[in-house]
């Protein structure tokens, strides 16, 4: 799949933002006044900024409101609803914390649940696609949720929770890569089933239907970036999980905490880039490509 910067930015930033909202809604940390203002500004900046970025890849962003209509069948539509509801609950909760020094607990819990639901619905947009075996795994939502919670705990300064969550996210990431590498072969889809000619013999692409490129090849067959995938996995793993855990285990220091957050953010962005760049769509088979 083509790793579109807008979608990588969206899933990385809003995942982190909704993760932070999750913990703020639970009152971890229980903040008010200016401190709360800064926390909520970061959380809304990340989540809303991410959502805005996701509209950049639309052909007709001005019609984006229509995407709220099909919540009965479409995960993308459900994601829109969850995000808006989470932001409304958390917005009201934030007003209470920032301006009135109040903790309206019920609103916080609802905001927490919908923040989690937003990340889950985002992950389901990818998980539901049978056409991309690497995404069509139960582990995909687990990965999105564990990343979001670990990053949220890190941003919320919840060191005690962040370290185990980072370790869990790291294990899910490693398992996801291990299983993902086998997913395409296990899906049973190959050039033989794609063309229906597999029972007759070995199928090879003789001539493509067009000499130039097209939308399908640009969008679904991204081979260039896979060259350095192994190195990028190591870089991503070290930045997203290893470095932050080490920094958190050292005696607390605001500079170390900032470094941990930035390192995690960079690592997750690299992991998300790989999530797209390494995802192989079955349509590539028609071109004899992966």
């Amino acid at each position: 799949m083509h790793p579109a910067p807008s979608v990588i930015l969206f899933t990385t930033l809003s995942g982190l933002g909704f993760g932070l909202l999750f913990f703020l809604g639970l009152g971890m940390p229980d903040v008010s006044g200016w401190v709360a203002f800064v926390f909520y500004a970061i959380a809304f900046g990340l989540s809303v900024g991410g959502l805005m970025a996701s509209t950049f890849h639309l052909g007709h962003p001005e019609r984006a409101l229509k995407a709220f209509t099909q919540w009965k069948s479409s995960w993308l539509s459900r994601e829109g609803w969850c995000a808006v509801i989470a932001l409304i609950f958390m917005g009201l909760f934030a007003i209470g914390a920032v301006f009135f020094g109040q903790r309206w607990g019920a609103l916080g819990i609802l905001g927490t649940l919908f923040s989690l639901a937003t990340v889950f619905t985002t992950s389901m947009i990818y998980t539901q696609l049978k056409t991309i075996p690497r995404w069509n795994m139960k582990l995909t939502p687990a990965m999105f949720l564990s990343f979001s919670l670990a990053g949220g705990a890190l941003l919320a300064g919840q060191t005690g929770v962040a370290v185990p969550l980072l370790v869990i996210a790291a294990m899910i990431q490693a398992l996801y890569w291990w299983l993902g590498d086998k997913a395409f072969a296990q899906s049973g889809t190959n050039m033989g089933t794609a063309t229906g000619l597999g029972q007759r013999g070995a199928v090879t692409a003789f001539e493509p239907p067009h000499t130039g490129t097209n939308y399908l090849l640009r969008e679904f067959v991204h081979v260039v970036g896979r060259k350095h995938a192994e190195k990028l996995r190591i870089i991503s793993f070290l930045l997203a999980f290893f470095v932050p855990v080490i920094l958190l285990l050292l005696p607390f220091n605001h500079f170390f905490a900032l470094l941990a957050v930035l390192s995690h953010l960079a690592g997750v962005a690299v992991s998300r880039w790989l999530f797209f760049a390494q995802a192989e769509h079955v349509v590539g088979l028609y071109y004899g490509k992966r």
Partner: protein, 255 residues
């Protein structure tokens, strides 16, 4: 709405004969010609006369080589070249429809055709991600998703002569490799063709239940009984001339 109908009254679709297709791409061109001028936004091209041309097409023809494995009966089987037209299969369980967040993609109850309402399409591309067959292409100029309409503006069009009320690709195919009809009716010509030739689905494991069927190619290097089907036509009809020709023959012999 992007919820799929429980069932459709008819299942209009195509049957593509891989045995007959010669790979001329006439269907590709006639499809582009008809659909750029009629239903919905035009099918745009980018850099059409430049170094890196690309454009939106609803139908494309791939060519594959199939190398059968050697067997005792055929120790050196010949590889076969198979031309393979591919367009929307108007699936019964169309994954492109249910993922659509706006309701722009839908499957019609009356004939099962999968269409895009372009004025509702936000161009998110998710339907193209969900389609295993590469049947949908986002138009780079218009920013909306384009796909085969089964020439919905031809097949019911009473302004056209009846012979033209079939999809443009079917009407234009010089080899007769494309057939159009109701695949939900077991007595229709297309259904009989599929039954007789063991028509197949593409990627059945995806669970999309395509309406369009493909007829498998026959092995071209194993013709059993009919060694030379033209031989009977080439045999002399009359061994001995009669009538005028007989007189002429005898007269010329005598000279």
């Amino acid at each position: 709405m992007t919820q799929l109908p429980q069932s459709t009254e008819r299942k209009m679709g195509l049957v593509i004969d891989l045995d007959t297709c010669v790979g001329c791409h006439a269907c590709v061109i006639s499809c582009k010609g008809w659909n750029t001028e009629n239903y919905g936004a035009p099918l745009s091209d980018q850099d059409a006369y430049g170094a890196n041309p690309s454009g939106t097409f609803l139908n494309r023809v791939h060519s594959y080589e199939v190398q059968p494995a050697p067997t005792d009966a055929h120790p050196a089987p010949a590889a076969q070249l198979i031309h393979f037209p591919k367009s929307c299969l108007h699936c019964e369980d169309a994954p492109c429809v249910t993922v659509c967040p706006t309701g722009a993609s839908y499957k019609r109850v009356e004939d099962g055709i999968v269409l895009v309402n372009e004025s509702d399409c936000i161009g998110c591309g998710l339907c193209a991600w969900a389609c295993p067959y590469g049947a949908r292409e986002l138009d780079a100029a218009e920013g909306v998703m384009k796909k085969c309409t089964l020439c919905v503006d031809r097949i019911y069009n009473e302004n056209l002569p009846e012979v033209d009320r079939v999809p443009s690709c079917v009407r234009t195919c010089p080899a007769g490799a494309r057939h159009f009809g109701d695949l939900g009716d077991p007595d229709s010509d297309v259904s009989k063709l599929v039954a007789q030739r063991e028509g197949m689905d593409l990627m059945p494991e995806m669970g999309t239940k395509p309406v369009n069927k493909y007829l498998p190619p026959r092995p071209k290097d194993q013709i059993e009984d009919q060694i030379d089907i033209l031989a009977p036509l080439l045999a002399p009809i009359a061994e001995e001339p009669k009538g005028f020709l007989s007189w002429l023959d005898k007269t010329l012999e005598k000279l």
